[in-house]
């Protein structure tokens, strides 16, 4: 690995991202969707709090008066799903476009290692992810200004969002290396991400042991405790393994392209 080469690729990819319309549209749609969820969660919260003033039973039942539980945690859940929806649109071009236009031929004959190319592209997409996630900070900032939420779960929640996004990007960059068709890449990414998302649905249907495995494989199970403010090394390791695995597969995929 060569830091200079990684940063050269990273810079080029970033320029390329931010000179195309795609990123802006993706970020706009992402903010509209997350903003919609935020508005609804907050509106529900405020209506219920008004009603709870006259009906103490309701307050008890609703675990109300805890803005972390009723607004922030569901918000992180929604944002994470929207991230899974949006990242394939960011990653699909990374290799597929270069294959389509043929620029991959020059890129792979430049004197740089494949690792540098993959990391450069990966980190460029991570920068876009960080931008997207950072822009959603307006919601918790608004909550902090208006109420008194706990700050720790917000911070760990954001850690969870970045990790789940980074995992989805690793998977996306892998599918992009498989094909020269961006739509095909995005479709495979969606399919695989939804598989990792919904895999926990089968947990009640299978034996306890297998259920535990499936539950552990599920990509969104692992942000649950993070958005509660609990940092469990198991969750962090899950995401790191996920990222390393798919970056490794991307490298292998590039290598087999050379062999064929």
């Amino acid at each position: 690995m060569n830091i200079r080469n990684v940063s050269l690729i990273l810079n080029r990819e970033l320029k390329s991202y931010f000179s195309s319309l795609t990123v802006y549209v993706v970020i706009l749609m992402f903010l509209l969707m997350t903003g919609y969820f935020f508005y609804n969660l907050l509106a529900t919260f405020s209506i219920v709090s008004f009603q709870a003033q006259t009906d103490p039973m309701l307050a008890k039942q609703y675990q109300l008066l805890n803005i972390n539980e009723t607004v922030i945690r569901p918000l992180f859940g929604s944002i994470s799903i929207i991230l899974l929806l949006m990242t394939p649109l960011l990653t699909m071009r990374l290799f597929a476009e270069e294959k389509k236009t043929g620029t991959i031929e020059l890129l792979l004959t430049f004197p740089i290692n494949d690792v540098d190319v993959v990391l450069g592209k990966y980190l460029a997409c991570i920068v876009v992810l960080l931008t997207m996630v950072a822009l959603t900070a307006t919601y918790p900032i608004l909550l902090i200004a208006l109420g008194e939420p706990e700050v720790v779960p917000i911070i760990t929640g954001y850690l969870g969002l970045v990790l789940i996004g980074a995992a989805a990007i690793a998977l996306g960059i892998f599918t992009s290396s498989l094909t020269e068709n961006q739509i095909v890449s995005a479709s495979i990414s969606f399919g695989m991400l939804f598989f990792f998302w919904l895999i926990s649905y089968s947990v009640p249907l299978v034996s306890a042991g297998l259920g535990q495995v499936l539950g552990y494989l599920s990509i969104n199970e692992h942000i649950a405790s993070l958005s509660k403010g609990v940092v469990d090394s198991e969750d962090i390791i899950y995401y790191l393994c996920f990222i390393v695995l798919f970056l490794f597969l991307t490298l292998r995929s590039l290598e087999t392209k050379r062999w064929r």
């Binding site: 690729i9 390329s16 991959i104 004197p111 740089i112 392209k257």
Partner: protein
């Protein structure tokens, strides 16, 4: 500078190149000639380490393309066919990126980029997006990115395709200037290009090496051709020509007026000429025109390639 030994590349069942051997000396310009699909690009992709050969060995600048790919890639400049560039970048940004990626020290990147833009006549478009410049300029950007690190070996895949005649001329003179300082391999299916640019030609067809020689040697090996215009009865002339010694074949050509035109191929030029002379005197025809036709690489090429097929 470049050594290729028993090179074979198979795509599944299909053998794209079959046991190719050649060497290129330092400072030489080698032409790679062949019809479309002959395997030119495949050879170049192996030499540039884009993919490894199925078997055989390729050595560029002293390093094995497969085992020591990074060292080879440091020493080459490559212009792929159809010139794939990052169209969303500006010309100077793109060249700076390539210069840096090719290992140019950070403080020299700007100087080297400016120099190569100057050499390739790109200064006028340096601030334009690559997607907005013309095909000729794109081709030059392609050549500029190949040249930017001053590589020992330049590999150019059809560098003049899709350019207008003026641009072709400019690109050719640019390549010609590179000889001596750089070792150049260029592929083409345009034959005159080879005789203009290259010191040596390799002709490949269907993945096999058909001939290696200097363009002028390849041309002189071939038999002489001559164009005749005679006024007289066409059938009689044809009969007489067939009977004349020293002529291997002839073909009737359409000409204006009532004279007859023939392209005659000699196997013994002196005897053939004398035969024609006496035939014309005997029959009292008028010899209106007699001029030698230059045998072009085109003929040799077609001859070699079709011989191979027969």
């Amino acid at each position: 500078m470049i050594e290729v030994e028993n090179l074979v590349k198979e795509y599944g069942e299909f053998r794209a190149i079959d046991n190719i051997n050649f060497t290129v000396g330092k400072g030489e310009i080698l032409g790679f000639l062949g019809p479309n699909g002959a395997g030119k690009t495949t050879v170049m992709r192996i030499l540039t380490c884009f993919f490894p050969p199925t078997s055989g060995k390729a050595i560029v600048a002293g390093f094995n393309c497969f085992e020591d790919s990074l060292n080879v890639r440091k020493r080459i400049g490559y212009l792929p066919q159809k010139v794939p560039l990052y169209e969303d970048m500006k010309v100077h940004d793109y060249l700076r990126f390539v210069a840096a990626v090719k290992g140019t020290p950070a403080k020299e990147v700007n100087r080297k980029t400016a120099k190569v833009m100057d050499d390739c006549g790109l200064s006028d478009v340096s601030h334009k997006l690559i997607s907005t410049i013309s095909g000729g300029y794109k081709q030059r950007v392609g050549i500029a990115q190949a040249l930017v690190n001053d590589p020992e070996v330049l590999i150019l895949d059809e560098p003049t395709v899709g350019l207008d005649p003026k641009q072709i001329k400019e690109i050719r003179s640019l390549i010609k200037e590179l000889a001596g300082r750089h070792t150049v391999i260029l592929s083409t299916h345009i034959l005159p290009e080879v005789s203009i640019l290259c010191g040596r030609v390799i002709i490949i067809n269907k993945g096999k090496l058909v001939a290696v020689d200097k363009p002028e040697n390849l041309a002189s090996e071939n038999t002489k051709k001559m164009f005749l215009r005679i006024s007289g009865n066409a059938q009689m002339i044809e009969r007489e020509l067939a009977a004349t010694g020293g002529i291997s074949s002839f073909e009737k050509e359409q000409v204006a007026g009532d004279a007859c035109g023939f392209v005659v191929v000699f196997d013994d030029e002196k005897r053939g000429r004398q035969g024609i002379q006496s035939m014309i005197e005997k029959n009292n025809w008028d010899l209106l025109e007699m001029r030698p036709l230059e045998t072009s690489l085109e003929d040799i090429f077609i001859k070699l390639v079709t011989k191979e097929e027969a």
